[in-house]
């Protein structure tokens, strides 16, 4: 894995959430989703900065749209995962599964 292909934990989380949220992925929805799914308070700025960083790395792309009254008539910046982003997520998931396979089998059910 090259340097640009490495993702931090938070970056991976955001990338995954963008994938999950689909057409509704922008700053606020992501912050809300993190709170909902992970029970974790994240500042808007952290989400934004990570989004821009991922965009710069080519895993996300953004487009403007959806101005609503609630936000003072301002446009939203929606994010969409790119193919490279999807591939990376897949790759990370696979490598983790492979790693898990190597661990001693534990029986959680009993």
């Amino acid at each position: 894995m090259g340097r640009t292909n490495f993702l931090g934990e938070f970056e991976e989380l955001i990338l995954t959430l963008v994938l999950i949220l689909g057409d509704e992925a922008y700053g606020n929805t992501i912050v809300r989703a993190i709170k909902e799914h992970q029970n974790r308070e994240v500042n808007l700025s952290s989400a934004h900065i990570t989004l821009y960083r991922l965009e710069e790395k080519g895993f996300l792309e953004s487009y403007l749209g959806g101005a609503t009254k609630a936000r003072g008539g301002r446009k939203k910046r929606y994010f969409k995962i790119t193919n490279a982003g999807k591939a990376l997520l897949q790759e990370m998931k696979d490598s983790r599964t492979n790693l898990w396979k190597l661990t001693p089998q534990l029986n959680f059910s009993s």
Binding site: N28, L44, S45, H48, G72, R74, K76, R77
Partner: protein, 860 residues
């Protein structure tokens, strides 16, 4: 602001720092979140969270780059600005030169004064223990007031050493004086002093050969400077060599114990050798008592904060030993003596520090004048650039780039001015040193560079701020439309600056004339004694025993008018309080200047007798005779003094005469009591009055006669009038220096006026052309153009004259005898200023008025 909106402050802050491309969406997100928070937590928490988020967004990826986000070619723009600046200088050569000359001469003056002032301030401060070194002074109170000087009884030194625990070292010393030193080969007149063995513990004069510790213990020891060693022995390592000391009837063989480095100008105490205090005290001082103030005592304290205690103890010791004295002793920091050397009635009243202040003020004035000029001319020139600005703006130049251009221009010029100023100082420093009798060098240190850069940048920025901010903010249409309104609306600022300049110039003109006049007055003032064509030289060797024979042979030389044995010294020699008379009370302590005299001295000096007679061999012996001046008689409150007997410390004396007052000390003080004591054997000099016009040949003849009599002693005659001039040498130097500086300041003001005049006439060429076509004469136009400047100078005169009157009156208070402040002096200064202004402006206006209207009305 509704409570439902996010805090405006943070919104604005965010808008200010955020990249424009990100601004809208982020702000939208934040506002959306704010609304949610508002519902969930209430207004105050929502606001707090909003603010926090804004602060959290303040990071690298979000903040806009410094310059509008557009990447301009800054280096390219800078190069372009430099090029424009260069072309501007080339096109307006005369303005450029006037500006540069004005600024750089002004700065050079300021630099010179800075060097001079720092040299004065640093005087005597190089001694390592400087802050611990104190000189003992004495305040003598008598009926006429308090007299302060650094003479103290020599016996004091040992007592202080024994009894005052605050004191680390005590130095007993004398002032430097000229003595004769001889080796086997030759004899020399050398300046030297006496000091005890602690001298080198207290003062940091670097030793090159020998041991400083015990250098002055032995009575026959002498410490000499390197250059004196070279002169006497042709080697700098002179330790162990012997030489002979001659003073009056004393003679002593001495051994060199140490050699010190030549003294620099950093010390005010100049000498070429030091001899042992023991020898001086044991042998040379004949009257060793507590009432005789023959020594200088310097103490080094363990801790300067104990100064008060040490002072009290020293004064107490003195009073214990001299009961009923009306003299107090006090301490003054050794290095302060140089700058604060004037005392009036026991109070410290300035001294050289006044010249330091005067010159600092002059430097400030010149700096202000030069800067005003620079600012004035730059703004005047810039207002011609409205068209250029209009064109540039319509082509899309941003305001910032215009501001940058003007700042580049003015800072370039001011930096160039600074550079030229340094070059000027470097080149002219030898001349300045000659004029100021100093040995200054241009040691460029970080401090100096830093402060001059700061000053020059401030000047550059002020000068550049008018064109850059006012003109660049101007409406394009207005700047392209031909109109005259801009210049006239903003010229009041420039006028005020010209008025300030000329007021300062007038003050400087008055100051210069005043100082010169007072100096001339000092030079020519009748002091009550003659000082022309009178020379004197020391009695040494054979002259001590048979001076009578020598005097009578001198008298026979052609060209010699009068001769006498003399103890007369310009500036006062010995002062004594040891005189008492009938009816003298405790309070009537009077300090007299004492002059020992031989026959004919009073006549030789041209001092007039009021009553009685002078010392005269035809009246038998005069050995118990004394003569007072009128002030002395008045101070003693005597009526009919002739024939009365008074008690002098050397015995009872009869008053045989009263002479008219003569000013022995200096014109700074009133005439003080003085007495002449008949005692030719004890006199130190032989004085000769030479026929005027025959000085040189007569002195040659005197020299050959002297050599016959006194083969081994150098003949070194001195002129009384030179001694007198030396009393005022520091004033003389200041007078000549201030003259130069005033001249330069006026020149700089004129350059400014010249520039301004050429600028206004240039602007009014068309107007002048039209006026001429309509039939106006040349003189009408000249008058029209000059009127404005005359008004300004007129106002400057009104401001300058009272100011200069006040300052002049204050300065003359320093003299007990001074010129009166005449009205014509001030009117004269005003007229000079007006004439200078007219001549400066006239050259420009006449040129403009005589131009053929065809030329001026024709458009490009």
């Amino acid at each position: 602001m509704s409570p439902k909106r996010p805090p405006r402050l943070f919104v604005n802050f965010f808008k200010w720092y955020c990249k424009p491309s990100l601004q809208e969406t982020i702000l939208g997100d934040m506002e959306e979140q704010f609304d949610e928070d508002l519902e969930q937590y209430g207004a105050s928490k929502a606001k707090r969270r909003f603010g926090w988020t804004v602060l959290r967004f303040f990071r690298k990826d979000i903040i806009r780059s410094l310059f509008n986000g557009q990447k301009l070619n800054y280096l390219g723009m800078f190069k372009h600005n430099l090029l424009i600046t260069y072309r501007g200088f080339k096109r307006h050569k005369s303005t450029f030169l006037i500006n540069l000359i004005g600024l750089s001469t002004g700065l050079a003056c300021v630099l010179f004064i800075y060097l001079w002032v720092t040299d004065e301030i640093r005087k005597d401060k190089f001694h390592e223990d400087n802050s611990h070194i104190y000189q003992v002074y004495s305040n003598h109170h008598d009926a006429s007031g308090t007299f302060t000087w650094k003479g103290v009884p020599g016996l004091l030194a040992d007592e202080i050493k024994a009894k005052v625990s605050e004191v680390k070292h005590v130095v007993a010393a004398t002032d430097a004086h000229e003595y004769t030193l001889s080796t086997d080969n030759d004899a020399y007149k050398v300046n030297g002093k006496f000091a005890n063995e602690y001298f080198f513990d207290v003062f940091s004069f670097p030793i090159t050969h020998g041991d400083a510790k015990n250098a002055l213990v032995d009575p026959s020891s002498i410490v000499i400077t390197e250059s004196l060693a070279e002169r006497l022995f042709s080697t700098s390592d002179a330790v162990g060599k012997t030489l002979e000391f001659h003073f009056w009837q004393f003679k002593k063989t001495l051994t060199v114990t140490a050699v010190i480095e030549d003294l620099t100008t950093a010390t005010s105490d100049q000498f070429d050798f030091i001899m042992s205090w023991t020898y001086y005290h044991e042998v040379l001082v004949s009257y060793k008592q507590w009432g005789n103030y023959y020594a200088r005592v310097i103490v080094e304290l363990n801790d300067p904060s104990n100064k008060k205690q040490a002072e009290q103890k020293i004064d107490a010791i003195f009073k214990e030993n001299l009961e009923g004295t009306r003299t107090d002793l006090f301490l003054t920091n050794y290095s302060d003596q140089y700058l604060f050397n004037k005392y009036e009635n026991g109070e410290q009243t300035g001294g050289r520090i006044e010249y330091v202040k005067l010159f600092s003020a002059v430097a400030l004035f010149i700096l202000i004048i030069a800067c005003i000029n620079f600012i004035n001319l730059s703004t005047a020139k810039a207002s011609q650039k409205t068209k250029e600005i209009g064109v540039k703006k319509s082509l899309g130049a941003s305001r910032n780039s215009l501001v940058a251009q003007y700042f580049t221009e003015t800072t370039c010029l001011s930096l160039l001015g600074l550079f030229v100023a340094y070059a000027l100082v470097y080149l002219l420093l030898p001349q300045f040193n000659y004029l100021s009798e100093k040995e200054l060098s241009l040691n460029i240190d970080g401090n100096m560079i830093f402060s001059s850069l700061v000053i020059i940048l401030i000047v550059g920025i002020i000068a550049g701020s008018y064109p850059s901010f006012y003109l660049s903010g101007m409406n394009i249409l207005k700047s392209l439309k031909p109109s005259l309104s801009i210049a006239s609306r903003h010229s009041w600022g420039r006028r005020a600056l010209v008025i300030v300049q000329f007021s300062i110039s007038i003050v400087l003109i008055v100051a210069t004339i005043l100082i010169q006049q007072q100096m001339r007055y000092v030079q020519t003032k009748n002091l009550g004694y003659d000082r022309d064509n009178i020379v004197y030289f020391e009695r040494e060797g054979k002259l001590l025993e048979n001076h009578d024979a020598f005097i009578s042979e001198l008298q026979d030389l052609s060209g010699v008018e009068k001769t006498a044995a003399s103890g007369f010294m310009v500036g006062g020699g010995n002062s004594t309080g040891g005189v008492s008379w009938e009816g003298k009370t405790e309070e009537e302590q009077v300090q007299f200047w004492e002059t020992k005299a031989g026959y004919g001295l009073i006549d030789l000096l041209g001092i007039e007798l009021v009553e009685g007679r002078a010392f005269d061999p035809s009246f038998g012996t005069d050995s118990t005779s004394i003569i007072f001046n009128e002030t002395a008689i008045a101070a003693m409150g005597m009526e009919d003094p002739i024939g009365k007997t008074i008690h002098h410390y050397s015995g009872d004396k009869k008053i045989i005469g009263v002479v008219k007052d003569f000013n022995l000390i200096s014109l700074h003080t009133k005439v003080e009591p003085a007495l002449f004591l008949f005692n030719p054997e004890q006199t130190h000099f032989i004085m000769v009055k030479i026929e005027s016009g025959k000085e040189l040949e007569t002195i040659e003849k005197m020299e050959s006669l002297y050599d016959e009599f006194n083969t081994n002693y150098p003949f070194n005659p001195r002129f009384v009038d030179q001694d007198y001039q030396a009393l005022y040498s520091s004033e003389e130097r200041v007078a000549s220096l201030s003259g130069y500086f005033a001249g330069l300041a006026i020149m700089i003001s004129c350059l400014g006026l010249f520039g301004l005049a050429s600028f206004t006439t240039e602007r009014r060429t068309k107007e002048i052309g039209i006026r001429k076509v309509m039939g106006s004469g040349v003189w009408n136009i000249v008058l029209l153009l000059t009127k404005d400047f005359t008004k300004m100078v007129g106002i400057a005169i009104v401001i300058g004259i009272p100011l200069s009157y006040y300052l002049g009156a204050k300065w003359l208070e320093n003299y007990a005898y001074s010129i009166a402040l005449e009205w014509w002096l001030f009117i004269g200064a005003g007229i000079i200023a007006l004439l200078i202004a007219w001549i400066t402006v006239g050259t420009q206006t006449i040129k403009a008025a005589t131009v053929n209207p065809v030329e001026s009305l024709k458009d490009e």
